[in-house]
């Protein structure tokens, strides 16, 4: 079959069973858009800004586990997309990005809308390709999907010059791909796994710490089985929420900078720590010197060898596919001649329960002013804990993570690594397309939402009835919090003045807008919003401006050096 490069690009998406492409047309991709026009297998979602195309495709991947696909033009199309590419890269999200490029003879001549796309994106992609000849296009697309979805996943960009998309060649999509320079590991080292299981069985104060890798690797059920079989305490990272159910009594809450008192203390005081698909990053374990405890042994399962012993030295590294490794571990636990030390475990749980009694997430509710935590609790109730929740970045993100109890994986979509404001709304669109019948809530703030607010238009066009839960405190809340705690209450540029009337704004896009100022109205408004199943509802909650996120570990401090409330300031 002889096809143009543009037709080949689209055919490759069909071969990869890609249902949606999120994108924005422009000069260098006109042939590709022409090829899209002439088929009906791949549906294109026209966003209002390329950043949103990336976030929406990214969230589609996070929600489904399938690679997200975005299509942007050269030059500004690509530079607008970079934030979204970096967001996906930091959170290891499988994506394929197709970008247009100026025609090959014009490359390097500062042509109109030319940028060095491969150069600009190189540090924030898993890999990228510039396709110089149409004959290479199909095999390159195959490689792109393979690299993006295997090993530690990540975004892969394919840059297609305009003439390449115009040229014609014989199309033959490769069935398989092999690259001598890329062979991701699967099976973990059996000896190491045995050692790990033995260490786990002998533990007196065990702790299981689960990260986003467990969700990306679709291993939540195995993590849950392991934690339940052993009876050990478990914490999830921000990226790992939902990997182990939050309503289970063995869940001690999220850990880290805004983690629970009990989770952080258990991390520090355990004698055997099992890390599953987590990477000991600065927001999770704080200062690595402080985190070090003499005698505590650490087992680390990760698919990426470079994640192991990067910030924290570990005793038993296991590099491998999480499903294979956990299956092997579960089998060994079952066959283990030694059983867990029940007495030691009982004492350990007593200790943890004492920590729990601090009730570190307790807050003082008010009848006068809406507390943001209360909104999240009511959101949880209104959706029976079964919505897909996206968020932007800041205080609202942390409150959503702390107060919405995620029991299932792929329900909590947020930019954990890069911390990208503007992620929430386009992410909600991607998730809603993936699951048209599920309630999707975007928890956001009045600052974050304005970074991609233009997507209200996209929601209208494609009938994506997401619910926007805007915790409006008229501040860049997290910046304000740090300024209060670390910069002597000097609130430098952290207020949000001249805000739009979000109700009218929503209405102007054809959506439903609600402003909620009274705590008594929170529950009713949420119920009403979620009953409007086919409408976008923008819920603008005017919340307490002074509320801070606690517990809090200051940047650079030790994990146990927590501020538990205003009394600690």
């Amino acid at each position: 079959m002889r096809l143009t490069g543009a037709e080949i690009a689209i055919q490759c998406l069909v071969e990869e069973n890609v249902p949606y492409v999120f994108g924005y047309p422009g000069g260098a991709v006109l042939h590709i858009y022409d090829a899209l026009f002439n088929q009906d297998k791949v549906r294109h979602i026209l966003v209002r800004h390329e950043q949103a195309a990336l976030h929406a495709a990214d969230a589609y991947a996070r929600a489904t586990g399938r690679p997200g696909v975005a299509l942007v033009t050269s030059g500004p199309g690509v530079t607008n997309a970079v934030t979204g590419i970096a967001t996906a890269y930091m959170d290891s999200i499988p994506m394929v990005i197709i970008s247009g490029q100026v025609p090959t003879p014009a490359i390097g001549l500062d042509a109109f809308q030319e940028v060095d796309t491969v150069g600009i994106t190189r540090p924030c992609v898993k890999h990228n390709f510039l396709v110089k000849h149409v004959d290479e296009l199909a095999s390159t697309m195959k490689k792109a999907f393979y690299v993006a979805t295997s090993g530690r996943p990540g975004p892969v960009l394919v840059d297609i010059p305009k003439d390449v998309s115009q040229h014609i060649t014989e199309f033959d999509y490769p069935k398989s791909v092999s690259m001598r320079s890329y062979n991701p590991v699967n099976k973990g080292h059996t000896g190491q796994i045995k050692k790990a299981v033995q260490m786990l069985m002998e533990a007196k104060r065990p702790m299981i710490y689960v990260g986003g890798g467990a969700i990306l690797g679709d291993a939540s059920h195995l993590v849950t089985k392991l934690v339940k079989d052993l009876g050990y305490p478990c914490t999830n990272t921000l990226m790992g929420l939902g990997a182990f159910p939050a309503t289970d009594p063995q869940f001690v809450g999220m850990l880290g900078m805004h983690g629970t008192y009990e989770a952080n203390l258990a991390m520090q005081h355990c004698d055997v720590l099992l890390a599953v698909g987590a990477r000991f990053d600065d927001r999770v374990i704080g200062n690595p010197q402080h985190f070090y405890v003499e005698g505590r042994r650490i087992i680390h399962i990760d698919i990426d060898p470079s994640s192991i012993s990067k910030r924290v030295r570990v005793d038993v590294p296991i590099v491998g596919n999480i499903i294979d490794v956990l299956n092997e571990m579960l089998k060994l636990v079952e066959e283990s001649p030694v059983s867990v030390d029940a007495l030691a475990l009982k004492q350990w749980w007593q200790q943890i329960n004492t920590w729990r009694e601090r009730q570190c997430l307790k807050y003082t509710n008010s009848t006068e002013i809406i507390k943001p935590q209360y909104v999240i609790e009511k959101l949880y109730e209104a959706t029976q804990g079964d919505a897909i929740v996206t968020s932007d970045v800041g205080q609202h993100q942390m409150w959503a993570a702390q107060y919405y109890k995620f029991d299932k994986p792929r329900r909590w979509l947020n930019s954990g690594g890069l911390g990208t404001m503007g992620f929430g709304l386009p992410a909600a669109m991607g998730a809603q397309l993936a699951f048209p019948d599920m309630p999707v809530a975007c928890v956001t703030g009045e600052a974050s939402i304005q970074m991609c607010i233009q997507e209200l238009s996209t929601c209208k066009q494609y009938h994506l009835p997401v619910k926007i839960v805007n915790l409006n405190n008229r501040y860049l809340g997290m910046v304000r919090q740090w300024q209060e705690i670390l910069h002597g209450n000097r609130y430098s540029e952290s207020y949000m003045d001249a805000l739009p009337d979000f109700v009218k704004l929503a209405e102007s896009y054809g959506h439903v807008g609600m402003r909620i100022e009274n705590p008594a109205d929170v529950e009713g408004a949420l119920k009403e919003a979620f009953s409007l199943k086919d409408r976008v509802v923008f819920l603008d909650f005017l919340t307490d401006q002074t509320e801070n996120v606690f517990p809090m570990v200051k940047a650079g401090a030790g994990l146990t050096e927590m501020l538990l409330g205003a009394e600690d300031l």
Partner: protein, 163 residues
């Protein structure tokens, strides 16, 4: 500690910038880097001289291995190896200096590869220390220009780096 890393990578445009970009993005030291295609034209061989603690070197090798274009990474310091660097040095050679410079070059087994009535250009190969020692042996005011390739390294005996 100083380490010599030997890499085989796909001989493709952009491969070099991926390696160089990795070092600058992650703040790793890079003392020297040399690269050229191998007997298999689809592969390039790169030698990187770097330094860092054992932890840093471990991260560097892991991060290099993660690059899709990198086929293999060897830390030559893990075994016995030979290191050579080529230097071309142009020296002001006039009057009584001429004989002295020639003699010093002979001692270091350097070869004079270009001569004018006022200059010598000397070719010298060896490990880094030897090239440094030669430069120290010459009056620094006479050194007009030096060009060094950076180290190339290869394992001894049966220790062979190939795909």
């Amino acid at each position: 500690m100083r380490h010599i890393l030997s890499l085989l990578l796909e001989n493709e445009s952009g491969a070099l910038s991926r390696v160089a970009g990795l070092f600058s993005a992650r703040g790793y030291n890079i003392e020297a880097l040399s690269v050229a295609p191998t007997e298999d034209p689809t592969l390039s061989r790169m030698t990187i001289v770097t330094s860092g603690s054992d932890d840093v070197i471990e991260q560097i090798t892991k991060q290099l291995n993660k690059l899709i274009d990198v086929v293999k990474v060897f830390d030559l310091n893990e075994g016995r190896y030979i290191e050579r660097e080529l230097m071309l040095v142009k020296i002001r050679a006039e009057g009584t200096d001429r004989e002295e410079i020639k003699r010093t070059a002979d001692i270091f087994r350097g070869r004079v590869i270009d001569v004018t009535d006022r200059t010598y250009t000397i070719e010298l190969t060896g490990p880094r220390d030897k090239l440094d020692a030669f430069l120290e042996a010459i009056d620094s005011s006479l050194i007009l220009e030096t060009v060094r390739t950076g180290a190339s390294g290869i394992g001894r005996g049966e220790w062979i780096l190939r795909v």
